[in-house]
Symmetry: none
Amino acid sequence: MTKSKSAKPVKAKSAGAKPRQPDVTRRNILDAALVEFAAKGLAGARVDEIAARSGSNKRMIYEYFGNKEGLWLTVLENAYTRMREEEHAIDVARMKPEEGMRYLMEFNFKFCSRNPEFIALLNAENLHKASYLKDSKKIRELYTPLLVVITDLLQRGQKEGVFRKNVDPVELYTTIAALGFFYFSNIHTLSTIFGRNLLSAKQQKIRLDHSMEVVLGFLRP
Amino acid sequence: MTKSKSAKPVKAKSAGAKPRQPDVTRRNILDAALVEFAAKGLAGARVDEIAARSGSNKRMIYEYFGNKEGLWLTVLENAYTRMREEEHAIDVARMKPEEGMRYLMEFNFKFCSRNPEFIALLNAENLHKASYLKDSKKIRELYTPLLVVITDLLQRGQKEGVFRKNVDPVELYTTIAALGFFYFSNIHTLSTIFGRNLLSAKQQKIRLDHSMEVVLGFLRP
Amino acid sequence: MTKSKSAKPVKAKSAGAKPRQPDVTRRNILDAALVEFAAKGLAGARVDEIAARSGSNKRMIYEYFGNKEGLWLTVLENAYTRMREEEHAIDVARMKPEEGMRYLMEFNFKFCSRNPEFIALLNAENLHKASYLKDSKKIRELYTPLLVVITDLLQRGQKEGVFRKNVDPVELYTTIAALGFFYFSNIHTLSTIFGRNLLSAKQQKIRLDHSMEVVLGFLRP
Amino acid sequence: MTKSKSAKPVKAKSAGAKPRQPDVTRRNILDAALVEFAAKGLAGARVDEIAARSGSNKRMIYEYFGNKEGLWLTVLENAYTRMREEEHAIDVARMKPEEGMRYLMEFNFKFCSRNPEFIALLNAENLHKASYLKDSKKIRELYTPLLVVITDLLQRGQKEGVFRKNVDPVELYTTIAALGFFYFSNIHTLSTIFGRNLLSAKQQKIRLDHSMEVVLGFLRP
DNA sequence: TATGAATGAGGCTTCATTCAT
DNA sequence: GATGAATGAAGCCTCATTCAT
């Protein structure tokens, strides 16, 4: 939906023809569902709305995903998978430790900024106590490559004497995730409370800079 | 609202008649609504369920709160108010800067731990882009006392030479909030992904300790 | 529905007033459901149609009966109960054996004739292998008073020497039921096959007379 | 229809291609439909289910039978035809009257026992007031051979003095049909009410013996 | 002939809300 | 103030049927 304007029937025959492309139909439904679910959560989302937005029809949703919950799970899995894929593409192996750490944090922060649907989806799933995620085979197989990268950076930094010792990679990962995620997850209530527009590029830069200072300040030996 | 016990006799009239205690009824509805809304969000919550759980009936909900959304807003305002009240009770004026900072972080972390409904409510409200909160007069009047306390601690710490300079109190506040809130807000998905029970006391202690190290490590001059 | 034209709101206030009489509403739904279910079976019946015909609305059906299947079961139980009540009212204790037997058969035959919905309902339930009936507590408690009456008639008849010996009451009951029920249960296909209108009073009389002859001929010593 | 094996080779073309055997496909659909319709009636049956069970697909159903109702009618006609064919094969011309009558009743009873789908189908069609049957040209041409046989047996029996006079063959036929059909048609509700398993061979024998006694007892001069 | 995707109408059920008592 | 019956709109899902390949 986002920018898949070109996702329309590739071989559109004559007018009124029914596209007969399962993959495209499926993809369109998932795109539409992501938007709807992210905007309203599982309970608030409307199957009719998803069907309409997808350019397909309700029946297809049930054909492909069984029911609303099946669609929810698939959307969730997709979002996670996409995130992990981007994470996986990160290559900081050749960067210096501190530079690498900055890069990682920047990626994490900007990923959250670019993908508000992902944020919304995760929050909604946490509302359900991750009950759908728990039943997902796919997700449990996904590990966090970021963790490996962080571990590597920490070791190299410690060896080079630029990072302190005794830092648990999992805790550091959680901290980095928190610093990026929380800001965007609570951006609307925070904006309201503080009376500032935290969505602005300026505010985002301030936040990212501060977060980096915090983590790097902490890491310094 | 909080404790506006009217002078009316708490005990019910006599035999046969149902007790007529508007305040109690109202309070019961709010309590029931908090649980229901926190568990299922605004769209997923059921007015019937709230009525049943409150021991009252649906008519009363509409009598007191107008409609479901009015109830949602009131529950939200109540949660915020209660949180702010606890925050307000904090007194770190006489503590040493570093001790005070630790105390603040601990309070924030444990408040999140003790109030999962608050977390759920905030996330749900962010899903709606804080649209209800924005319309609330009450909330906009609430400022964050914590901010004042943090500013004071920072100044004292810098004067005493135990804290670095040029630290923006708002940013630091956000960081502290993030480190506490995120862990609990995403506790179910994180537990699933990491394969650990992050709700356990042990894991919570590890996280809190790490968070403190991060913030204090960063603050050190 | 049948002749409960007078069942309308007893205390109908002004125009457009909502009758607030649970029992009447419930009764109206059951009456409407009997007609609809008998005409189309469980799967073919339409909840919308039942709601419309009952003068109430769909929501009430679910309020009182849970779902379509719950309504089906209740209608079935009601039909059985009503039938058993009429059966119970039969008093042949003072009739002579042969006269009593004729009377019983006539009642059975005419009950089927008068209650085509009952026939249809039973057939439909047999299509489901009596799965709803099996779960009904109510039905299992209903015994067949007719059986007692038949047993009594047989004994008296044998004592008086007008009936043969060694007749199993259960088998005789089944035979009598079959002779009445089958004719009405299959009346449409039989009419089509034979090219006669078996619904006519004349044909019904012929059938009843023959049936009586069969049973009494058999019973003669 | 029955065995109109065309001259085409039964075996499929060669590798890769699906077998193209219209008659087989048609037959498979009818077999699947019989089971589905008998189990759930016309309204309850699912075209998808029939297609799946037949090993073919929905398109073929519409190709051959037009629509669901067309399929229903064909299944009904087929069932009737098969029944009549079996009836037709009966040859009691050389049996003694009483023996012949016993044989007929046994056939009728056992046919019902062997063909529960036929029972279910007839009941379902009666629910529709035989509306499909009435429009069937095929069915109206089918007469009941049994009727001829019964007439012959009655005449011979009366001539030989073993049967009473003034017995209407149509009525006797109906009685015989009732005694067999009813038992199986209502076997589930009767089993539930009586608390016995009437499907057992033992119970069936008891019933058949009793039915014969009834009819023969009645026929005795 | 055969297949499976596509569809619109409609089915069952639930919900927030209102009204009579 | 309190209760529970009543309601219309709308939600999720299914079905018979058609169409493109």
